[in-house]
Symmetry: C2
Subunit: 606 residues, 2 copies
């Protein structure tokens, strides 16, 4: 049997499993699998070099299925490559199966979750970047659908990789003409895709996506360039089953049992030999890198000294960079505001200027961390909302990401609401398994950055623009899920729970109240998720009243987090349309300054 | 004085005001204004036709400053065009001034907020689309920065407008080479921008952005085409002030008073006459369209009939489309899942297929509503997270948007977490002045869609995938801020608060508990924001215990909203890593099914 006959047969085996498993599951996207069958067989059984015994090793060629709804054909390819057992395929989409409806990293050979379209290419760019950094001469392959080519995130990745000349990436788009609800924007106009992508300095190849000879040759050519390569593969949706080919209204619809029987007859006639010949088998020798994260940071601040938490974050990054060579820092052209500039200047080779393209920045970070890097990324808190879908998906990729959002709240002042992070706590709290930290002074900012460095998972740090006085001794310890009781007595009539700039307002209110002999407790709630439940409950029991104060919208922030513990806080938060002005006036207007806290305490007394 | 001399002088007047106002404000981005001075003067005093007395009319040429940080020069242009008083300029960024740090629609001539980069072009595309629909032969001009060209959202808009051949838009990018933290990705490589944009079927013109003669000619040429036009204007950051020109580290930094004096001397020498000659004045005759929104919808469902809320939403859209000709529906290639397909089929001329580009969809909607259209837009709830920044900015644009997210929660089942909307309530609750509605059956879904149609502002409707039984009579009334007490007695020992699929679980639990003579109250909390505070407080007082149940992450959803009222609910919500499986098993696993509710009630009794 010739190589081509072998790849053709394999393609049809992949078709068979894609249909069988989706019909069994009674859901899924068989027609989206069928158009990709020759691309997948050529990739997995000819083009890609990988060690199926050690797919977690990093010196393998890697694959990302950006068109995640074609998951069944990816599972089929992995089964045919002896990575997962073939029996497993028929558990597709079941409650206890790792073979979920869309890929998640519960399966060997799958490092990230996909299924929200338009994210795979940027992740692949991160993987390619990481392999270059590590000197690993392996490629990353990303298969996209044609529908997702409309996503701006795809063009951010094309722009970034083209500019960098990342030559170790091959992207393929499966141009099967049909989206979910009808034809895509460009249908089979493959030249339009080609012209657009080529204009971004990629090698572009247009080919028949069902001709394995041509695919093999095109993949070979793609490797010979010093640019990234994009293959525009013209395909037919539902290819290989006569009644599905190019049929409208068959997106995301499994075959009935009768249809399956009919389809199998057609497909079986084309399968002549299905044994796996690992012609492209390569032994991998570089295991996934495991980092022991037990970093510590020493600070040297003077109590009362005024410094912004964002500036202290920058200093901490720099210190961590010296002790963790595995660390990479990304920023979206705001280094001088987020203070990642400290790191960028000292470690340019481990810094990535992502320009103003936050979605791409987050996905690149996801790609980098799959190769074992500790990735920190920063922007204004408000602009991270640009990549909320990417963060959401990162949680399903079980990614290890250290994220910092600066310029939190109305306390940024004159720049106005477009630059204020007022929904970032809500956003990051609603990411599963996330940690959310919020420093108030330089010492806590550095120490919390270090906690973030030691944490494996998605950790968000919220920093502020204004300089705030140092309130902690350099020896102070912090931990995830902790808090600090800064003021307390046996007679406290209320507890003020705050973090960031409002903590300083709480301390000012405390001073005023003390003059009037009104004792209140003040808690620095620096760990917003998880909360220090025990300390908050104790404060509630002892002082009867909690007041939360935050420079964030009232929804989804500290107040609601505390309220969810049943502690009935009076929530002081941003509730009016924000606008430009001096920070202190804006804090007062929103009722989150010292005076508002003081009045709230007095109201409680009445 | 020649026209060119006049425009040059005007440009320098704009420079003068940009510097004076930012120095007075002690913050702002003067150098980003200076590079755009000739572009702005050519636009405002030669190219654009508008009626400065009636800038709210829709038959004016319109302008969007996508590079919102250059706001001072926009304010200066509006002042020079007698739209706002010149004295006003020196109030820039003050607490009581409408001239905020970045543009917001508190100023005549500014219809949308900008300042989160990369959004202006797509909004402009929406405006251009609207003017075409209305048969208004006026243009929209969008000024972008070169830094924001890295945003994917810009390329989504370029792709969309190019494909449509929207010929009434002229975009200009001010290629001043320098971003915030350093050079942009392409610097002054204007040909790279040109090649990329041209590949998307735009007319592209490269020109000197400081030569008013060339700018005038280029703007003229741009109008003669049946394609959208993009002008790549090569400029110098800080242009016109010797010590600022092309200087690094001057982004976002106002001049000192001494620097201002020096700069003024340079600029003043170039100002020869500053009187406004309204050569391009046009009388506008089409006032902004005001809609009276008092729509009603009749439904005709049978109690117990099973139908998904998303399907009922589709029916409601269709009914509304028949009585509101001002209504436009947008979808991102999921019409057959969100059920906007009903409307698309009946009203193709008022339907916009936005393909898989959610950011662009939202910004186009913002653009359309500035011209008085009632815009409904839909996607899967989870994919709306892609456009969170656009929704955030829409709130500062005071936009009127009717947003529906389908496929809420784990109850979608087998498709898995990438397709589950589990953070949408947190996301939309944390949008200022938003309304969040969540129907449980077909009747409420249609009626809530009608409430949304009648509401002016950002309203979010959350629909579900599974078919659920009709529980409401067709005569039932709903209102924003309302709820329905579905089950109650004088002896209720707890209240279950739910909405959507979990309301049906609550009703099932009620049945089981009733058999055991355990009376509970059941409330349909269909208005998630604002909540029906009075009813919830009453239930808390009467039954002592509230249990909230929601198919959403525990953060930022119904439970926390109720908790924020001080009602100490036991919150049942999604807390485990979601995955594929049958809906009922997933609801059980997350502890939000009938059995979990039943157990929670019994725990309370102990």
């Amino acid at each position: 049997m010739s190589a081509a006959e072998y790849l053709k047969a394999k393609a049809n085996v992949l078709r068979l499993y894609s249909i069988r498993s989706t019909t069994k599951a009674k859901s899924g996207h068989p027609t989206s699998c069928l158009s990709a069958a020759e691309i997948m067989s050529t990739l997995f059984f000819k083009e890609m070099n990988f060690d199926q015994e050690n797919l977690d090793y990093i010196d393998n060629d890697e694959f990302i299925l950006s068109k995640g709804h074609a998951a069944p054909i990816l599972y089929a390819a992995l089964a045919e490559a002896n990575v997962i057992p073939k029996e497993k395929l028929m558990t597709l989409r079941e409650f206890t199966s790792e073979l979920e409806g869309h890929p998640v990293p519960r399966v060997k050979g799958i490092r990230v979750g996909t299924g929200s379209l338009g994210q795979g290419l940027a992740i692949g760019v991160g993987v390619a970047y990481a392999k270059k950094l590590l000197g690993i001469n392996r490629r990353i392959y990303v298969l996209l659908g044609d529908g997702e080519m409309a996503e701006g995130s795809v063009w951010e990745a094309i722009n970034f990789a083209g500019r960098l000349g990342l030559s170790n990436i091959t992207a393929i788009t499966d141009v099967n003409r049909l989206g979910q609800s009808g034809p895509t924007m460009y249908g089979w106009d493959v030249e339009s895709y080609a012209r657009r992508i080529a204009s971004f300095d990629w090698n572009v190849y247009v080919c028949d996506g069902h001709d394995v000879d041509i695919l093999v040759k095109t993949f070979e050519k793609a490797k010979e360039s010093n640019k990234p390569s994009f293959i525009i593969a013209k395909t037919v949706k539902g290819k290989g089953v006569s009644f599905l080919e190019n049929a409208s209204d068959r997106h995301g619809k499994p075959l009935t049992k009768e249809e399956q029987d009919k389809a199998e007859k057609e497909i079986m006639s084309r399968i002549i030999n299905v044994d796996y010949i690992p012609s492209n088998f390569t032994e991998a020798t570089v295991p996934a890198r495991k980092t022991t994260r037990k970093f510590t940071i020493d600070t040297n601040y003077v109590l009362g000294e005024k410094i912004a938490t964002r500036a202290a974050y920058g200093k901490a990054l720099q210190k961590l960079g010296r002790i963790n060579t595995n660390m990479i820092v990304l920023d979206g052209d705001v280094q001088n505001s987020t203070y990642t500039s400290n790191f960028f200047e000292e470690f340019p080779e481990r810094s990535i200027q992502c320009y103003i393209a936050e979605q791409n920045m987050v996905s690149i970070a996801v790609g980098l961390q799959t190769q074992g890097f500790d990735v920190f990324l920063s922007s204004f808190a408000c602009f991270l909302s640009r990549a909320y879908d990417q963060f959401r998906m990162a949680s399903y990729s079980k990614a290890n990401l250290k994220v910092t959002g600066s310029h939190a709240g109305v306390s940024i002042g004159e720049d106005g609401p477009s630059q204020m992070g007022l929904e970032d706590l809500a956003m990051f709290r609603a990411i599963i398994n996330s940690v959310v930290l919020y420093p108030s002074d330089a010492v806590s900012s550095e120490k919390l950055t270090c906690l973030m460095a030691n944490y494996e998972g998605i950790c968000y740090l919220r920093t502020s623009r204004p300089a705030t006085p140092v309130i902690y001794d350099n020896s102070e310890d912090f931990h995830i899920g902790g808090s600090k009781v800064l003021r307390q007595s046996n007679n406290d009539i209320a507890t003020v729970v705050a973090a960031g700039v409002t903590l300083h307002e709480a301390l000012k209110a405390y001073e005023e109240l003390e003059k009037e002999n009104i004792p209140v407790r003040v808690i620095d709630c620096y760990s917003v998720k998880p909360l220090d439940t025990a300390t908050l409950i104790e404060a509630f029991k002892e002082t009867k009243h909690l007041i939360t104060v935050e420079d964030h919208y009232s929804e989804g922030g500290i107040g609601e987090a505390v309220a969810s513990l049943g502690l009935q806080p009076k929530i002081l938060a941003v509730r009016k349309m924000p606008h430009s002005g001096p920070p202190e006036m804006l804090l007062a207007e929103q009722g989150i300054d010292a005076d508002s806290i003081l009045k709230t305490v007095k109201n409680i007394m009445e």
